[in-house]
Symmetry: C2
Subunit: 502 residues, 2 copies
């Protein structure tokens, strides 16, 4: 794609240039809010088509001068939207509107999906991680810190709901979900995750697992027989789709996302992906791969399930907006409160393309007639009153601290260990050098020492023969002291092994 | 079957006679409790095989003397267990143990089902019944009185649960349900409904609708292609099973239950039934038909889904025990709190034959990973502290009063109207004489007058040509004054019609 037009500030002119000042947030607002407002305004302008693909944007210096804001704020907005795939840029060549976005376009019939299931590691795994007997420190991923659940705020919301809910709201629910919750979630998700969140397209469900099953049944009924999953990825995605009669095709990942060649060659028309923070590799998908995935979905009339299992937890910068924002007609966006509040609540959401909506809702109806009403009303109140944002900030602080503690402990006790992936989420990929190996004995010694670990090999087909030990380490549920203790225990156990037996 | 042995009181003798005094409830207990204890002891003795099929029971006079209780109490116990199919009796020939019971027998692979879905009339219908515009009085069945929901008791249980639940309970749930709830429900159901309720066989689900879908998927995966449903019956059963790929076969009912001939001829190996209070006809299945259904299930290696949608509400006598108690390996028993508390809670249960259990649980897992934990803990506490029993008594009083009000209003305003079915549940079948018809105009006039009605024809294939108007009238959600007003309105509207246009 080549830049086709250059635009600058001013009212819409005969050439259709956007009025940049319309993008300008209220002058009195603090810089942080102005920055966010600028990003949202740009995103919306791209989505709506007011900024067409190929439109060249003014330089950051020009736009900052036009808008009377700092250049850094514009630069940040351009970078953010470039990461999300709305804009494209090359050093020295400027910035222009990318071709990935497709909103309000042709209603189609393909699917791409991403996942909150990804981080769950399966209910069995998660359940086992808590109470297994000989485990002193459990680094298996999948469970947030359940002690962070805001009990008193939740109790207050419960009281309030039971006091105010009209009697008729206790009847059979709308299978799509309580209107007040769909509205509250749509607003929250648009603001936090950059999705196109029409409450009419939002289906309340019991979590990403159910979103996967719902979608699987709908696609299977349409004649699809297979779904592509990321390799490495969560085996749970495949299990869930298998229960709907869909086969699973592993699709190889590299450092940027799904490799386009194997994706195209696979012949699937539906994929499940975790682009914001890939599970388990921890990468964030590049803007190019996001665009390529959507191009593929349109070309094959396919769909993407976006499992946004921990899209809220990014520690080094603002989270990258969800893929769904780029093409809500090709992406089913699914998320839940399982990582932010508690998996036991079984509350989540799916944003569903128009073309699939009726079928998904009817499936939801026959599965359970809809989610429990009181829970939905409580979450709606919690979100509307700011409790959900507060909770996310609280978790974010705690998990960032734990991630730092893990990295420090690895550096101290298992020097040379590489940690890959973006600074986000509830787990890291650690690659322990071969001198602490070999992997089988490493894992056996860890287990004997009471340290529960999950090797990366459990999440895909790759079996590297370099002797390094690749681990998926969950840290969110452990206080920093337990993290340090666990890595110390681990090093003690495997350190002895290497000194004696290499 | 012929009576083969006669037993009487005393310790187990060489001939294996039961020790009747072991059946004797604590001497100090009030008569009502002793009666119930005697029934439970007899039921258990039959199930366990201690009282084998064909065993002849002592006469009521003998047993009453042996046990030192009133003869009426023994007579009542015999009658109750005969109605449930445990015992058989003929006037003058005595009472013996029936052949219908099969507990701890061969694990098989057939299905018979009964329903809480039955009374729901579909989520759409129920939802529409509440807020439709021009409706002044809504007699469509399916919704209980939502104002009876015990808000303050529920709020107290919520508070208590949030205060005491350990953190780890907030993680991914056991897909079978919270152990404390399964225990509480098993006890309650064994006591109230006479089921064989092993907590290990109880799966918490979101209601009878989900129980139907779970079972449908499991049976479909086993190769079954069709499920039999009662005619008349709830169309919702067929819709739910259809979503799992199962076809529906209507099976004709008469005044006693499913007719055995058409059932056998149908070739199905799974049926959904409502034996305690058939929906919509209102009959209670006879003991013979209950036994015949179970004989059929064993013969075809089939299963029964027992939808016990309002088994708790019987106004003239103790509710007849559930079918499942007679053969827990052939019957999936399903119920919910939808009629007793509120449909919006989406909480129910299924008692599942051993042979199907693992498959049902795995289906439940892939559908939603399990029900919300807090809701389950709240219901467990509510049941364990007696709140559920209190609630049932409260509903029972209210609904009995409303049924009486309806019958009185029909007698006054639409004389000659016949009301059929047992004194139970949340609806009646009313047959309005042809002189108020014809049915099309009757229903049109009713709608014009703002009286919402549902004709029996919507629930099955029968289309009698006698000109009578057959209605399924729901009364539970209406206060007696509204019932009287509604029937008055109705009579005014159709009365004019008949006087002018017959």
């Amino acid at each position: 794609m080549t830049p086709s037009r250059t635009t600058s500030g001013g009212a819409p002119g005969p050439a259709g240039q956007p009025a940049w000042e319309l993008l300008l947030p209220a002058a009195g607002a603090p810089a942080r809010r102005r920055g966010r407002a600028l990003q949202e305004a740009l995103r919306e302008a791209v989505r709506s088509g007011r900024l067409a693909a190929g439109t060249r944007l003014p330089s950051t210096r020009e736009l900052a001068a036009d808008l009377g804001v700092s250049r850094g704020l514009v630069t940040e907005a351009y970078e953010q939207l470039t990461a999300e795939g709305y804009l494209r840029g090359e050093r020295g060549a400027g910035t222009w509107v990318g071709g990935a976005v497709r909103v309000g376009g042709v209603a189609g019939s393909g699917v791409t999906a991403t996942g909150g299931v990804a981080g769950a590691g399966g209910a069995g795994g998660a359940g086992g991680a808590v109470g297994a007997p000989d485990v002193r420190v459990d680094f298996r991923p999948g469970v947030p810190d359940l002690s962070l659940f805001p009990r008193s705020a939740w109790a207050a919301a419960q009281r309030s709901v039971l006091a105010r809910l009209p009697h008729r709201a206790l009847g059979y629910p709308d299978p799509r979900g309580l209107p007040e919750l769909r509205g509250a979630l749509a607003g929250m998700l648009a603001r936090r995750r950059g999705v196109v969140a029409d409450p009419e397209r939002l289906v309340v469900c019991s979590g990403v697992a159910q979103a996967s099953t719902l979608l699987g049944f709908v696609l299977r009924a349409r004649g699809l027989r297979a779904v592509g999953v990321e390799d490495p990825g969560s085996p749970e995605h495949g299990r869930l789709f298998a229960s709907t009669g869909m086969e699973t095709v592993w699709l190889p990942l590299d450092g940027e996302g799904l490799r386009p060649g194997p994706l195209t060659a696979s012949g699937v028309r539906a994929v499940v992906v975790t682009p914001s923070h890939q599970f388990p590799s921890g990468i964030g998908w590049s803007a190019e791969r996001r665009a390529a995935l959507l191009d593929w979905a349109r070309a094959v009339d396919g769909y993407v399930l976006e499992d946004d299992y921990d899209g809220d937890f990014r520690y080094d910068r603002a989270p990258v907006g969800a893929l769904q924002g780029l093409d809500p007609e090709r992406v089913v966006y699914a998320g839940s409160v399982s990582k932010s509040l508690a998996p036991g609540l079984r509350l989540g959401w799916a944003l569903v393309p128009e073309a699939l909506l009726d079928e998904v809702v009817e499936r939801k109806r026959t599965m359970d007639l809809g989610n429990p009403v009181l829970d939905q009303a409580v979450l709606a109140e919690f979100v509307a009153r700011g409790g959900y944002d507060r909770q996310l900030r609280r978790c974010q602080r705690a998990y960032r601290e734990r991630r730092d503690a893990l990295l420090a402990a690895l550096a101290e006790h298992l020097p040379g260990t590489g940690v890959s992936g973006i600074a986000a989420g509830l787990h890291v990929i650690a690659r322990v050098p071969a001198r602490f190996g070999p992997p089988e004995r490493f894992l056996a010694r860890a287990a004997e020492a009471g340290v529960a670990l999950r090797p990366l090999e459990e999440y895909g087909t790759a079996r590297p023969a370099d002797g390094d030990v690749r681990l998926v380490i969950g840290y969110a549920h452990l206080p920093p002291s337990a993290i340090a203790e666990g890595i110390g225990l681990l090093a003690g156990a495997v350190g002895e092994l290497t000194s004696q037996n290499r």
